[in-house]
Amino acid sequence: YVLAPSKWDHTDLTYRIENYTPDLPWHEVRRVIADAFKVWSDVTDLTFTEVMNTKADIMIKFASKYHKDGYPFDGKGLILAHAFFPGKDKGGDTHFDEDEKWTINSNGEGVDLFMVAAHEFGHALGLSHSNEPKALMYPWYQGYIPDFQLPYDDTLGIQVIYGGKGPYVTFRPPARTTRRPNTGGYSTLAPPRKAPIDPCKGNFDAIAVIRSEVFIFIGKYFWRSREPKTILSSEPSTIHDFWYGLPDNVESIDAAFEHPTNRRIYFFSGNRYWIYDGNSLSNGHPRSGKPITDFGIPQDIEKIDAVFVWGFNKRIYLISNDMYWKFKESDEYIEPDYPRDMSIWKNVPIPVDTAFKFQDNTYFLKGKEMYKFYDMKMRVALNWPKSIEDFLGC
């Protein structure tokens, strides 16, 4: 068995079934889910209580393709389900691919919900995959097993984490704690900002390098300079005075970048975008903007936090909260298999305020903190973040 990096710090866990598959009667799904949890509670002191209307430790749902996390399902076959290791927000949450044919006690046809649920709950409790083919935590689906008993490998694994009871007790339970994880709501939006106008306080809406100049956007203002350390020596301009045709109801810019090949300038605000040639709207681009769904971004995404051209591969990336997308190489549509989870950009905080490429390096910003990214190692560089004050010469 292999342990995941996290575990629950309490043993009285709750779960909630957010929706049901049409493949099975709902009461059967509830029973199967309860039975799948029982697999784990039979060998530990863990308890699982279903709740109906409140946030639970383990949120369970059936979903298809993109479903608001960074791990879209792939249609029928291959990936059947996934779960998040214990933790805040999405931690413990378990998702089943609705494109599968879910069955109970199935022999051959369809996917047995109990077997998959029991496996996924192993992840939700803190177990990773095992290379023991007889183990429940073996990653490949083994089909329906009549009178299933949790194998020895999995029993030892879960008892290492939470202590045990039953035939294989090997480990004592760890000291209990009454602290519960933060089960507050999961928001896809950064908190609303009040229009700060001192760039040295951070909280940028967007930073972009356009025609070799650094542009800083905060609220309806922007500053520009070839040399960031002198950028505050001049007064800011307002976005509407300079970028002709930007509608009055656009009060701030969420993200901006200069396209690396067509040299056009893209602005994002809310769920719409505008394309500029210089400081005039591009020919034919409507003043009201276009929806970001044109790029293939899902409809439920309300804003783009950052867009940047990654120096490593010269590709365009869009970020919204804990998800990111990559444009296809030859056009302006997102690649399949996206969004992906922002954890790939190791140590970059989410949600980011903005991101930009400057002198061949990629920087992410949040608040007053600036994170230089180490492309080859795919993580924030050592000795970063640093205060934005250094960059701006505050």
Binding site: Y1, V2, L3, A4, P5, Y71, F73, G77, L78, I79, L80, A81, H82, A83, D97, V111, V116, H119, E120, H123, S128, H129, N131, P133, P139, W140, Y141, V160, F312, N313, K326, D337, I344, K346, D375, M376, K377, M378
Partner: protein
Amino acid sequence: LPVSDNLEADALKFLGRFGYISSAQAEQGAQSLMSVDLSEAIKKLQRMGGITQTGVLDIRTRELMQKPRCGVKDPVGEEEGGRKKR
């Protein structure tokens, strides 16, 4: 040596999706991957799947990559950190 062009894109996609090549390699694309890395990644996949570790995309490996499975990454990369195998 760079990876030859005839490697199936699906195999790379699979290896990236399930943690057998690093997040960096998966994001950067095939051009960042050396053949020795790829062979090692395939061996790790074969080890996890319980099939002979040839280090090449043989028929058993291709079959393994088609089989239904969990979407959680396998614990083979160093990047996840903190994982203990016993």
